[in-house]
């Protein structure tokens, strides 16, 4: 009797498959590559915020001994960007610079000192133009246009008007408004941007290792910028030191490394300083949000009417997508029908914004969850009751045609309410202490295909060789989030084999199938499903081989992972024996698996841009934050966070916890201390001391509850886990501060000086009120 049963990989906490490299220092990041002849690449950046480039002379720099290449826009074949309709950025500025620090030229030299001297020898003549550092200034009448094809310096106006907002507001028992402004924030992933580029002059081929979340897009943009065939470029993703959206698009440093390597016909390494990484930016835009909500006395929301203005920076990037997300994602969390949105994305002379974790959704969520908390208080309702009065029932389509097939928000609410002791503790804490809560959600990948080439959303290759090992080849970019691990788990679980059989190779364009990369929380859902598909295809091949060897029909083969057998009495074949049979006469086999979204998930057509928000599944989250405020210094201490996240199925519970804790904590930085700052376009906080990332000292315990409202289309029911919990922290914190101190924060981050101002204003107002009351008495 054989007691073998399939190995279980899903739902089991698994350390990351690439963990040992990371804990021993062996993991190679882009800046770690080095050969004896590697040249140093350095970038000359604009000292002015907005100017025409009248002339540039690179002759002296080129003549400097030790300089191997100087590149400018003249070396670029084309512009680049994110969306096909908005590729208005150049690797090196062409004709005009639009923000301080924009790359203008670059050099490759034998060492840092020589490269730096060469930069000093490049002569650029600028004719300065008026520069605009706020959205309001850029939109003002008569402002000079940053881009000739963007009238009014508007990147994009976005709007929708669904249901009957005016009638529903009129029908509400309570209508309230909020006007919030949230600072621009930057990802500050630990690894500064870097690229290691090798040019093979004999064959005219480029091999590059860029620090990116999207190797495939970098590949395409390198080909476009360098005027090379994609097939002549090999992009290999090294270990990546985080991203959070900062590298969800091709960066100039990736392109400049390629340009320098080609011109020098050599190996060039470009490593940005932390300051340059801040200037490269691609963070979350400063956003002004005005929102009006109508509510019935029982807490039911009747309508939402809101405007969003984003200061987008100097180039398009993901801007159109960001402004659309800031509107569309008002839906999908609660049962909201009537909503009106007007968004405007403004071009300004500041570094370009991008797709920061929680893309576009965070600041709208902050405004909404704070406003309904105040309305709950006014109506005498518990914050939990207001959320529960507005739950969705899955399956459903939202008013803007977003597919909701699974919905665990109710369970998330229950979990955090119990875990935090909300019912017994709320309102009974010591003075200056408070509890606040909020909910949030996020997509599991953008569903609508970005390119219309007919390519599937995800493709996985599995290669099985004579040693019976399985090599999983994926283009999905492992950036520290654990994607390689989760794919190995999906394959191991489907085959029932031990994960140790599987080796993952991630993102080498010469080896791995094309993948769009790691953004919009698409990987677990899409690539996970493709992994399962590939494993099923492989399993069918193995079952066929086992049937042949056992001389029984394939339908009678029982697969126990490491053993394939005909019946309980049968000793069966080992996995190795089955593989031998499958490969016999065939050789090494490679099977593949694909994944495609269904058209129902592509969003609607009710307004322009309605595809943004369309996804196969939403994650849901609720959190409770407990704070203590020092009434004298207005310093906020976050004592504890309880967060419940509905990820459908925790494929790797360890990684889910890590992702959720990281999201909540990142939300904390944005809520309390992080903000970029500029003086006349000059970055004032382009380092990790002035840009205040929370340290371990002020970071709270974060208790995670995993909720599993399985999605019918998810891989083993799974949905995303890495973004949905972020946006809820911001309002949960300010709601907790409101509970503790009775003030509503409308400006983020809520630094001590901002809170002190609110507290002092409240003291003055309370004094005036009691003065009036005394007068009346």
């Amino acid at each position: 009797m054989n007691e073998t049963s399939p190995a279980q990989s899903i739902g089991v906490p698994k350390p990351l498959v690439d963990g040992p490299e990371k804990t021993t220092g062996k993991a190679m990041f882009a800046a770690d590559f080095q050969t004896a002849e590697t040249l140093v690449g350095r970038i000359l950046r604009s000292p002015v915020a907005h100017a025409n480039i009248i002339a540039m002379d690179i002759a002296k720099a080129e003549a400097l001994p030790g300089v191997h290449a100087v590149v400018t826009e003249a070396d670029c074949s084309d512009s680049y960007g994110v969306l096909p309709i908005a590729m208005n950025e150049w690797a090196l500025a062409r004709g005009r610079v639009r923000y301080r620090g924009e790359p203008v030229a670059a050099v490759a030299a034998i060492d840092v000192a020589t490269a730096q001297r060469a930069l000093d020898l490049i002569e650029v003549t600028y004719e300065e133009l008026p520069a605009y550092f706020t959205a309001e200034a850029a939109r003002a009448e008569g402002a000079v246009l940053l881009h000739d094809d963007k009238p009014g310096n508007i990147e994009r106006d976005a709007e929708f008007d669904l249901g009957d907002v005016d009638a529903e507001l009129a029908a509400a028992d309570l209508v309230r408004e909020i006007d919030v402004n949230c600072a621009e924030v930057c990802q500050v992933q630990m690894e500064p941007h870097a690229a290691f580029a090798e040019y093979d002059g004999a064959r005219e081929r480029l091999t590059i290792r860029p620090s990116t979340q999207v190797p495939f897009y970098v590949h395409k943009m390198l080909a476009r910028t360098m005027g090379m065939a994609e097939g002549h470029i090999r992009v290999i993703k090294p270990h990546i030191g985080g991203g959070f959206g900062s590298r969800t698009e091709t960066l100039q440093s990736d392109l400049i490394a390629g340009l320098l390597a080609r011109k020098a016909r050599a190996t060039v390494k470009v490593v940005l300083s932390r300051e340059e990484t801040f200037i490269t930016h691609r963070g979350r835009p400063e956003s002004r949000i005005k929102m009006k909500v109508g509510m019935k006395a029982d807490g039911t929301i009747t309508a939402v009417d809101f405007t969003v203005q984003q200061r987008g920076g100097a180039y398009s990037g993901y801007g159109i997508v960001t402004i659309l997300y800031s509107g569309s994602m008002i839906y999908g969390l609660y049962n909201i029908v009537s909503a009106r949105f007007q968004g405007v994305r403004v071009l300004t002379n500041t570094p370009p914004c991008g797709a920061f974790r929680g893309h576009g959704t965070v600041k709208t969520r902050f405004a909404f969850e704070g406003l309904i908390d105040d309305m709950a208080r006014e109506l005498g309702l518990d914050p939990f009751a207001v959320r529960r009065a507005n739950l969705l029932v899955a399956p459903t389509m939202t008013e803007n045609d977003l597919l909701v097939n699974s919905y665990g928000l109710d369970q998330c609410l229950d979990w955090v309410e119990n875990a935090s002791g909300w019912k017994s503790r709320k309102g009974k804490l010591a003075p200056n202490k408070g509890l606040g809560m909020a909910c949030s959600h996020y997509i599991s990948g953008a569903s609508k295909p970005k390119h219309w080439t007919g390519e599937p959303h995800a493709t996985i290759h599995l290669r099985v060789d004579w040693d019976a090992s399985i090599t999983l080849l994926t283009g999905a970019a492992e950036i520290g989030q654990g994607s390689s691990t989760v794919m190995a788990q999906c394959v191991a679980e489907t085959l029932g084999v031990d994960m140790g059989r599987i080796n993952v190779i991630s993102s080498d364009s010469a080896l791995t199938p094309k993948d769009n990369g790691s953004y919009s929380s698409r990987v677990t859902f899409m690539v996970g499903n493709a992994s399962i598909d590939a494993a099923q295809n492989l399993k069918a091949r193995l079952v066929e081989a086992a049937a042949r060897k056992l001389e029984i029909p394939a339908a009678d083969v029982e697969c126990l992972g490491e053993v394939y057998r005909g019946g309980q009495q049968d000793q069966g074949l080992t996995f190795e024996e089955v593989v031998m049979e499958a490969l016999s006469g065939e050789g090494t086999i490679t099977v593949k698996g694909n994944y495609d979204t269904i058209p129902e998930s592509w969003g609607g057509r009710k307004y322009r841009g309605a595809a943004i928000g369309g996804t196969m599944a939403f994650s849901y989250a609720a959190q409770v934050v407990e704070v203590t405020v020092d009434p004298h210094t207005a310093e906020i201490t976050v004592d504890k966070v309880w967060v419940a996240h509905d990820c459908g199925k925790a494929l790797n519970p360890l990684a889910v916890e890590g992702q959720v804790q990281g999201s909540v904590w990142m939300g904390m930085g944005q809520a309390m201390s992080e903000e970029t700052a500029f003086h006349e376009g000059l970055p004032l906080a382009a380092n990790m001391l002035d840009y205040r990332v929370p340290t371990i000292i002020e970071s709270p315990p974060i208790e995670v509850g995993i909720i599993e409202a399985a999605d019918p289309h998810g891989p083993f029911g799974a949905k995303e886990a890495g973004e949905g919990s972020l946006s809820g922290f911001l309002p949960a914190l300010t709601n907790a501060v409101a509970d503790a101190m009775g003030v509503r924060a409308a400006e983020l981050p809520l630094t001590p000086d901002r809170l002190l101002e609110l507290l002092e204003k409240k003291v003055r107002e309370d004094a005036a009120t009691s003065g009036r009351n005394r007068g009346a008495a």
């Binding site: 350390p15 990371k22 220092g25 932390r274 300051e275 909540v664 380092n687 970071s699 974060i702």
Partner: protein, 166 residues
């Protein structure tokens, strides 16, 4: 042209190996480690003293390699992440960071582990406050530090239960 920078013969013990190098006096320890000694485990995450990713042990004490001139390490004992595990066997701290997911992207990890190593040598049974104090100069952007604290606690427990340090 370049001014000639004075050079020093640097003798030190690097991860248990005594070596001599001729180095310019203005060479930072982190550049010495990464470029001269080809030990790239130590990371550069900032422009100087902001992030702690370059933390190494100098005579057993955690130091920013990016704020240390290599020439000041004459006759010192330098330990980096590259030399921590012996015979490819993970130390308790490395196992802790691996198994408890104290490392996500892994870029802060070398500095975190070296700072934690110094802590556990000083206080084998640290409180949570001890851990927070010891890692206050090390920024992590992935974990929110929760699992980093658990990783260090895991290692402390493993070590007090008698597992050899390496």
């Amino acid at each position: 042209m370049t001014k000639t920078i004075a050079k020093t013969v640097l003798s030190l013990n690097l991860n248990g190996v005594v070596r001599d190098d001729v180095i310019p006096d203005n060479l930072l320890l982190v550049d010495y480690l990464r470029e001269k000694a080809s030990l790239t485990g130590t990371k550069i995450g900032c422009d100087g003293g902001e992030c702690g990713a370059c933390t190494v042990l100098i005579d057993g004490r955690p130091r920013h390699a990016c704020l240390t001139l290599a020439a000041t390490c004459q006759d010192s004992e330098i330990e980096t992440i590259d030399g921590l595990s012996r015979d490819s066997r993970l130390t308790a701290l490395q196992r802790g960071f691996n198994e408890k997911l104290g490392a996500q992207c892994g870029f802060c990890t070398p500095g975190m582990i070296m700072a934690s190593e110094a802590l556990l040598r000083r206080i084998p049974n640290p409180s949570e406050t001890d851990i927070r104090d010891a890692l206050a100069a090390n920024i992590c952007r992935c974990t929110g530090y929760v699992k980093i604290i658990e990783a260090v606690q895991f290692a402390a427990q493993a070590l007090t239960e008698g597992e050899p340090a390496a």
